[in-house]
Symmetry: C2
């Protein structure tokens, strides 16, 4: 069933100046003039959140998370009030709502709270009166009535959650790019904007460093089957990328995109006794420190010893190394070393499910380009390789060419299905 409501979310760069806020107001008004009910979610003006956070950190090495949430939530309150004022001045009635006023209740985990429920009565009431609702993104309240925030990309999550709660037609995420691309256009000049991508592909892309959408927001949209549209705030013509459930009629190329991530590091523990429980000991220590490990390789055992390598975000390397050095001693390992000169290249495509040989094509394309793979990991719709950092751009271009991603894909129904 289709409702008449759309949710539009505008990020920090879209509301970064008063002129940009006026531009957003004009776009929102256009949607309303076209007969839509509109609920808008805004981020803080670009730079505002970082500025507030920097102040807190200047005052304290470890500011309490409860006060950080109170502090940061001000950024979205300001931008929502300003956008509401801009709409009103265009003759478009609007009401700004805070996290509390939009009924967004979260758990107690300050600075990365999870949404528990939304009571959208007030927003619905405002929409019924034919006003635009402008919601401060990123924020909610917990059951004590304290302000909480949803973590990085929280405004996207707010937007999707509100769209779900209000049974919106779709949730539009406005940003400074035209949509989701086959590759980073700064690396691949002929990268193509995708018209459509499945939730699953988008989830892989988001977790691989495609910054256009946060994983949580896509997960949420996927769980509740809320179609997302990623589109440009500044280019009104372009209809952006639709992110939705896979369906048979969808254009479904074998590969949808190539991603690279240079913010990865590798830790290698050499000469670990090849005994049960040792790997668990090592990785439990990292889990306790809330450090996520990505790929893991364990060599074939030689003389009762083995080497373990794993990758992790470079931002966690400094914290992880002393933990690993301790564990290394504990298990009598030969050495613990790290390497930040690596990057992760990934190829994502829902079509991989029905097409054999994709991994093989990837490996030959990289090999033909003279690029050595250090580690490989795969999922049903993704292949990732760790390579030397200096080969990153070349690898991305080679794979983009290999799968002809600059060209409009053929329909899956027209392509042969591999065994």
């Amino acid at each position: 069933m289709s409702s008449n409501l759309i949710v539009q979310k505008f990020g920090g760069t879209s509301v970064g100046t008063l002129e940009k806020i006026q531009n957003v107001a004009r776009r929102v008004k256009k949607s309303r003039d076209a007969g839509k009910d509109v609920l808008v979610v805004v981020s803080a003006m670009a730079g505002e959140t970082d500025k507030l956070l920097a102040m807190a950190r200047e005052l304290s090495e470890r500011p309490e998370r409860r006060e950080i949430d109170l502090l940061l939530s001000s950024g979205e309150r300001i931008s929502s009030a300003l956008l509401s004022i801009a709409l009103q001045s265009l003759g478009c009635p609007a009401v700004a709502l805070t996290g509390r006023q939009m009924g967004l209740v979260t758990d107690n985990i300050h600075t990365r709270a999870r949404i528990k429920s939304i009571n959208a009565d007030r927003a619905l009431d405002i929409l019924k009166r034919n006003h635009v609702v402008v919601c401060a993104g990123f924020q909610g309240i917990n059951e004590n009535g304290d302000v909480t925030t949803l973590g990085r990309g929280g405004s996207d999550t707010s937007a999707v959650a509100l769209a779900v709660a209000l049974k919106a037609d779709r949730c539009e995420i406005y940003t400074d790019v035209r949509g989701v691309y086959t590759a980073d256009p700064r690396i691949v000049p002929n990268a193509r904007k995708l018209n459509m991508v499945s939730f699953e592909e988008m989830l892989e892309m988001a977790s691989l460093g495609a910054k256009v959408l946060q994983i949580r927001c896509v997960e949420f949209a996927n769980n509740f089957n809320m179609p997302l549209v990623v589109r440009s705030t500044f280019d009104e013509e372009d209809e952006g990328t639709l992110v939705c459930q896979e369906n048979p009629d969808m254009e479904q190329p074998v590969v949808s995109g190539v991603m690279s991530d240079k913010d990865q590091s590798k830790i290698t523990i050499k000469g670990v006794p090849d005994q049960p429980g040792i790997a668990a000991k090592i990785f439990n220590a990292l889990a306790e420190a809330s450090i996520s490990v990505d790929m893991i390789i364990q060599n074939v055992s030689a003389e009762g010893h083995t080497d373990i390598s794993f990758t992790l975000p470079t931002t966690n390397l400094q914290e992880a190394m002393p933990i690993m050095q301790d564990k290394g001693k504990e298990v009598h390992a030969e050495s613990v070393s790290s390497d930040s000169d690596i990057s992760k290249i990934s190829v994502v495509g829902a079509g991989m499910r029905s097409h054999a040989g994709v991994a093989a094509r990837i490996f030959s394309a990289l090999s033909n380009a003279g690029i050595n793979m250090m580690m490989i990991s795969t999922s049903e719709i993704r292949v990732s390789c760790i390579i030397d950092k200096k080969g990153t751009e070349q690898a991305v271009r080679a794979l983009h060419d290999e799968f002809k991603l600059d060209q409009e894909p053929q329909r899956v129904s027209e392509t042969p299905t591999g065994a």
Copy 2:
């Protein structure tokens, strides 16, 4: 009965930078270390409110007051969170509370709301756990759950209201001056800081342009007999000025202070028919436009016609003149003119009640200084004169000298009582 709680309010200049916030944190911690329960109320960082307001005005000529309140309240939320973080980093446990969290409920009049009730349960609970409470000043919520603000000087009002609700011992207003002075030290270099002043005198002084305290805050304190202390954020030694109920033991000079106000203008309507109801017509028109008139003079009637002069704040002059020109025509007045080259000089003192001849001393002192008085008005504890603006400083100094305000006053019981 004396409680163990003090309320400390810090204005925008006191929390204008991170360094100043750290300084405030140290002072608050000192009070707590001395065994006091402390509830702090903060204004927005200096300049923040004006910056937010300027943004709203750039977006709209008449921004809606509801959104303005949402916008402006962010300033105090930010400073309260920052001060709380600064306290925590000094090892002083603290919790920041928003207007809603401190239970401050107001009426519906956005941008100048009146406090209706305070439910201080949460603040009390935090104080019981031996934490400092840091309240965002200036803000409350109305019964719809919308943010309201209390108007200029609203943080002072928040502080006094919270002090009353929590039965605090006293309410300390920290500012960038050492207290209440006998005259503006920029005009009278030997002006003396008063150790004590009565609520009534303070009310007169505040309404006469002594900017150190807002009228509403003093009214509130007077109504609930909450002693105020005005003192410097930066000078820890000085104990400031105590503002409290008059009592017989109080040092009670004839005159406590001399104030001047250059932001006054005079409107004169000449040749008005001397008939009943004409003055009412004129002043009703101003009241409808919410313009406060201060002094009014009506000349003795000559040939059935009279002249009416009145003063008003210069900021209202531009709005008032067209209204007066209309009314002038309506009542067939000869002319309507205005004069902004005036100022109001006032002498305030609770001792005037029991001392005759104060007005006469004022008039001779001004006359001896060669200063002409255009209008005079008096209350029980005040005499005000309108003079030519260029004589302002000279008049203030002459009156300060006349009443020897640079010297510590004698007790009232030691001075003779006039007939």
